[in-house]
Amino acid sequence: MSERAVAISLKIPDNAAFTASVALGRLGVEADRIERSEIWHFDDTGEGSTLVSRIEGNETIFNPNKHRLTLLEEIKPRPGEVWIEELGRHDETREHLGGKTIAGVTNARRYVAWRFLRASGEPEGRDVVQRAAQRLLCNPAIERALF
C-alpha cells in the first residue's frame, strides 16, 4: 500500500480560474496567473508505474480530450499553491470517482488546488496564497486550507 497523488487540470480554457482571478483582484489579491486543478490523493495497492494508465481508465475524473494529468512528487501543496479540502467528505471513493473504481485504489481524498504564479512562471509568495484562501477560496465552516 502506497500513498500517491495526481493533479488533474483542464487543458481547455478554465472559466472558473478566470472568474476567481477577477474576484481576487477586486479583493486586492493580485497574481499574474491563477491555475486550478483537482488533486486526488490515493491509497494505492497497485504499481506506481501503472497508476496513470489506471486513472485513465476512469473517464469520470479524467478525460484525455479535456484534462491534463500530473503525477505529484510530494503529497503536499507546491510552492505558490493552496489545497482546499471539504470537511467531512473523506472516505467517499465511490462517490468521488463517479461510481467507478480505479483498480488498486482503496481510498481517495479530493482537494481543489489553486496555484498562484507570476508572469515569469515563478510561484507567488505564501502571503498572497494565504490571503486568497482567507478572503475567498476557503469557507472555514465547511472547508480547510492546506498550504
Binding site: K11, I12, P13, N15, E59, N63, K66, G99, K100
Partner: protein
C-alpha cells in the same frame, strides 16, 4: 474523403476543383477552410436539402418556416398582440460522444442562441437522448451520465426550464450517442428579429458579440460531418467546444436589453448565432441573405490568445458568440449595453461586443488580416446551395406477419415487472430531477406530470404552450419510414394528452453515412414517412436539423433515428390534464385501436422474441380520436390522461397510478376488465395490454360518464376498460398486483444510472 483529410479538410477533389475554377486561382488557406466549413453537410445540407423539400412547411399557424436559424409558429393573442413560439431543434452527437459534458452543454448553448437571435425570450428546452446499453463501468454509462449533467449544468445556469425530453438505451448507440436539443422562445410577431440585414443596409456595421475567439471548436462543422473513430478522439480535441453558461446568462439578458432599445428606436437590424463556420459562416450568411457582401477585418476580433492563425479566428467555433448587422447610428449604444451595462469584459476573458467590419453593396466576401487580403470570394458562391445526388437503396416496409396470439410460459406478473423495469420504460425521474423544470415560475405541467410539458408563458394570459418529443429507435431499426410516421404521431399524441391543440413540428434526423446507399436509403425513407404523417395531421415542419455520419470507425451506424418535437397551444390552461389518477370510483377508457402488431415493442424485447411488423397508423380515426379527446377535455370531462406508448396500455395505466403516488397522495388502484371482453375477442391478452400502437388511457369521473360517452357517440375506438379503486392494487382477472411494489420496480433501474 479527399487527399486533404489528414490536414483536417473534408472537401472532396471535385469540390476543390469547383472552388479553384470559380476563383480562377488556387484558394488561400483561409478560403480552403471557409469552403470546407460552408460546404460541409452540417452547413450545406448538401445530401439532404432536396429531400427535405418533401416536408410540408406552410399553413395558417406558420409565422416563419425553415429558412432562418429557427422557425416560428403562431401561438395566440393577448391584449391585442399576436405572439409566436420560436422553435429550434439541433443535434450535438459527435461532440457529446467525445467530451460528453461539454458536448451536451454546448448543444444547449447553441440551440438557445438560435432562438435568442430571432428576438425571442428563451422559455424552455427539451432533450431527446439516445444512449448505448448501460453496463456498469462502461463508456456508455459515462456518456449517459455526463451528457445529462452537461445539459443540466447549462440549462439550469441560464435559467431555462427543461420541459420535455425522452431517453432510450439501445446497443445501436453504444458507439454513437445521440444528443438532440430543442429550444423554444416567445416573441411578439411584430417584433421578430431576422437573421439577415434588411434593405438599404450598405455600409452597416458588422458587430461581433460575446466570448473572445480562441482555438476551441476549430473544425467543428466538418467534425460533425465525418464518422467517429475511437482512435481519433485525441486528435479531435481541437473540436472540443467549451461551454460558458455564465457568460450566456449575461449575454441573453444583455441581448433582451438590445431588443428593447431597437424597438424603442424603431430600428430593424439583423442578428444571427455564430454556429458552424464561425465568424466567416455567420457574417457571410447574414450579409448574403440580405443581398450584400462584407468586408471583415480579423484584427479587430477580440481574441483569447495572440498568434492564432487567421483561419482559426475566421472559422473556429468558439461558443457564446453572435453577430449583429447594425446601422452605424445605433452601434455605440449597443456596444455600451454589452460592454458597460452588462460588463461583458468582466464576465469572461476579453468577452465584449466589437465592430469587425462593414456590409457592402458589392457581393464579395473579403477578409483582411494586418491589411492583407486573406479571403476574397463571391459571397453567393460561398453561401449558395450545393447538392450531392447520392445513390440510395429503397428501404421497403416489411410485410406484416400477423400470426397467432403471443403465448408465453412466463406468469403475467413477471412479464409486467420485466416490462416496467425495461430501460425504455422505467421511470425517467432520476434523470430529469437533475434538470431545473420550474425556473421562471411559469411551469403548468412539469416533465413527468403529463405527456407534454406545459407553460403559461405570457403574464396575465391563460394561454398555455405544450411541447413533447418522440422517436423510437426500436422502430427505426426495423422500418425508418414507419418509425418517422410514429415519431410524428407520438409527439402529436403527447401534446393532445394534456389538452393542447398541436400546431407544428420540428425534426432532427440522425442517420449513418449518406455515402452508403443503405444508410442514405434510410434517410430517404424516413423523410417520406415524416412527410406522410405531417400531411395527414395537417401539421407543418417549421425547423429542423440533419445529423449524418453517426457511425463508428467499424462502420456501425446508429439505428435510423428521426426525432420529432411537437408544439401545441391550450387556449385556457384551466383545461390542462395531467396523468395522475385523481380519485377512486372513476371509469377508465382506452381511446384508440389496439393492434396485434408487436414488432419493436418492449414486451417482445423482454421475452426475447423478434417480429418486424410495426403497428400501422390509421390517420382518419386517429384524428377523430384526437378531436374527441380535446372536446372532452375542454368540457372538463377527463380527470387524467396518459398516451399509450412504450410498454403499452398496461404500462400507461400503471404510470397513471405511480404518478398519484409520486405526488404524495394516498395511492389509487385500478381494476382492469378482461381484455377478451373489451376487445371482443379480437386480440390475445398480451397484445391487448402490451401493444404500442397508440391511443390514450383516460380517467372519467363516474358522474361524467354519460356526458363523455355521449360525446364519444360517433368516434371509433373508445373502450371502457376498467375502474379506479380505493387501494393501490392493480387487479386483472383474478389476480392482484401490489402497485407500491410495481412502483419500486419501475423506479429503480434508472436510479442506478442516475443516483
Amino acid at each position: 474523403m479527399g487527399s486533404f483529410a489528414g490536414a483536417g479538410i473534408a472537401l472532396r477533389p471535385d469540390e476543390l476543383r469547383r472552388i479553384a475554377e470559380n476563383l480562377g486561382r488556387d484558394p488561400s488557406v483561409v478560403e480552403l477552410h471557409a469552403f470546407d466549413a460552408q460546404w460541409s453537410e452540417h452547413c450545406s445540407y448538401k445530401s439532404s436539402r432536396h429531400l427535405l423539400r418533401a416536408l410540408p412547411t406552410s399553413g395558417p399557424a406558420v409565422v416563419l418556416g425553415p429558412s432562418e436559424d429557427s422557425g416560428i409558429l403562431h401561438f395566440g393573442e393577448h391584449n391585442g398582440e399576436r405572439y409566436g413560439i420560436v422553435v429550434a431543434h439541433e443535434s450535438h452527437n459527435h461532440p457529446s460522444q467525445v467530451v460528453p459534458f461539454e458536448g451536451a452543454a454546448t448543444g444547449i448553448g447553441g440551440i438557445v442562441r438560435d432562438v435568442v437571435c430571432m428576438g425571442a425570450e428563451v422559455i424552455a428546452v427539451a432533450d431527446p437522448l439516445r444512449f448505448g446499453r448501460i453496463v456498469p463501468g462502461s463508456h456508455q454509462r459515462y456518456v449517459a451520465q455526463s451528457v445529462v449533467d452537461g445539459i443540466g449544468a447549462y440549462g439550469n445556469a441560464i435559467g431555462v426550464p427543461n420541459l420535455a425530453g425522452d431517453v432510450y438505451f439501445d446497443e445501436g448507440f453504444d458507439d454513437n450517442c445521440l444528443v438532440n436539443v430543442v429550444a423554444l422562445g416567445l416573441v411578439k410577431e411584430a417584433e421578430i428579429v431576422h437573421s439577415y440585414a434588411p434593405r438599404n443596409a450598405d455600409g452597416w456595421d458588422i458587430v461581433l458579440v460575446g466570448k473572445a475567439t480562441d482555438a476551441s471548436g476549430f473544425g467543428g462543422a466538418s467534425f460533425s460531418s465525418v464518422t467517429l473513430d475511437a482512435a481519433d478522439e485525441e486528435s479531435n480535441k481541437g473540436a472540443v467546444q467549451v461551454p460558458d453558461p455564465f457568460l450566456k446568462n449575461v449575454l441573453m439578458r444583455a441581448s433582451y436589453r438590445v431588443f428593447a432599445l431597437l424597438r424603442e428606436k424603431k430600428i430593424t437590424a439583423g442578428f444571427k448565432d455564430l454556429g458552424a463556420g464561425g465568424i466567416m459562416g455567420c457574417s457571410a450568411e447574414i450579409c448574403s441573405a440580405g443581398g450584400y457582401g462584407a468586408q471583415i477585418d480579423l484584427e479587430r476580433v477580440n481574441v483569447a490568445i495572440d498568434g492564432l492563425p487567421p483561419e482559426v479566428v475566421a472559422i473556429g467555433e468558439t461558443q457564446e458568440r453572435f453577430i449583429w448587422a447594425l446601422p452605424p447610428e445605433i452601434t455605440a449604444a449597443v456596444l455600451h449595453i454589452y460592454n458597460e451595462e452588462f460588463t461583458l469584459p468582466q464576465i469572461a476573458h476579453n468577452a465584449r461586443a466589437v465592430v469587425i467590419g462593414k456590409m457592402t453593396a458589392e457581393k464579395r466576401y473579403v477578409m483582411r488580416e494586418a491589411g492583407n487580403v486573406v479571403m476574397d470570394v463571391d459571397i453567393d458562391f460561398l453561401t449558395g446551395s450545393i447538392r450531392d445526388d447520392l445513390p440510395h437503396h429503397e428501404i421497403a416496409t416489411p410485410e406484416p406477419s400477423y400470426g397467432r396470439p403471443l403465448v408465453t410460459g412466463m406468469p403475467f406478473g413477471e412479464v409486467l415487472e420485466r416490462v416496467l423495469a425495461h430501460h425504455d420504460v422505467a421511470s425517467r425521474e432520476p434523470l430529469y430531477r437533475r434538470y431545473d423544470r420550474a425556473v421562471r415560475g411559469r411551469t403548468v405541467v412539469a416533465r413527468g406530470e403529463g405527456d407534454a410539458g406545459v407553460l403559461a408563458p405570457i403574464s396575465g394570459s391563460k394561454l398555455g404552450m405544450a411541447v413533447a418529443v418522440a422517436g423510437n429507435p426500436r422502430y427505426g431499426g426495423i422500418d425508418p419510414r414507419l418509425a418517422a410516421e410514429h415519431a410524428v404521431y407520438e409527439s402529436v399524441r403527447s401534446v393532445c394528452a394534456v389538452g393542447a391543440r398541436p400546431t407544428g413540428l420540428t425534426d432532427c434526423l440522425n442517420f449513418g453515412n449518406p455515402r452508403k446507399p443503405e444508410h442514405y436509403g434510410e434517410l430517404v425513407a424516413a423523410i417520406a414517412g415524416l412527410a406522410t404523417a405531417a400531411r395527414e395531421f395537417e401539421m407543418p415542419f417549421v425547423s429542423g436539423n440533419v445529423s449524418l455520419y453517426n457511425e463508428s470507425a467499424g462502420g456501425k451506424a446508429v439505428p435510423a433515428s428521426p426525432v420529432v418535437a411537437c408544439v401545441g397551444t391550450l387556449s385556457d390552461i384551466s383545461c390542462v390534464v395531467t396523468m395522475s389518477l385523481k380519485q377512486p370510483g372513476s371509469v377508465l377508457y382506452l381511446i384508440g385501436h389496439p393492434q396485434g402488431a408487436l414488432g419493436g415493442s418492449v414486451v417482445l424485447d423482454v421475452l426475447g422474441r423478434h417480429d418486424r411488423t410495426l403497428p400501422r397508423i390509421a390517420y382518419e380515426p386517429v384524428q377523430r380520436q384526437h378531436d374527441f379527446l380535446w372536446q372532452a377535455m375542454q368540457s372538463r370531462l377527463v380527470r387524467s390522461a396518459h398516451r399509450v406508448s412504450n410498454g403499452g396500455l398496461i404500462v400507461a395505466v400503471c404510470e397513471m397510478a405511480f404518478s398519484t403516488m409520486h405526488c404524495g397522495h394516498t395511492g389509487i388502484g385500478v381494476q382492469i376488465d378482461d381484455p377478451w371482453q373489451w376487445t371482443h375477442g379480437a386480440l390475445g391478452e398480451l397484445e391487448a395490454l402490451f401493444n404500442e400502437a397508440g391511443g390514450f388511457a383516460v380517467e372519467v369521473a363516474a358522474k361524467d360518464v354519460d356526458a363523455f360517452e355521449g360525446l364519444a357517440d360517433n368516434v371509433d375506438g373508445v373502450y371502457e376498460i376498467g375502474v379506479t379503486v380505493e387501494h393501490p392494487v392493480l387487479s386483472l382477472r383474478n389476480e392482484a398486483f401490489d402497485l407500491s411494489h410495481l412502483y419500486d420496480v419501475w423506479r429503480r433501474p434508472l436510479a442506478e444510472v442516475y443516483p
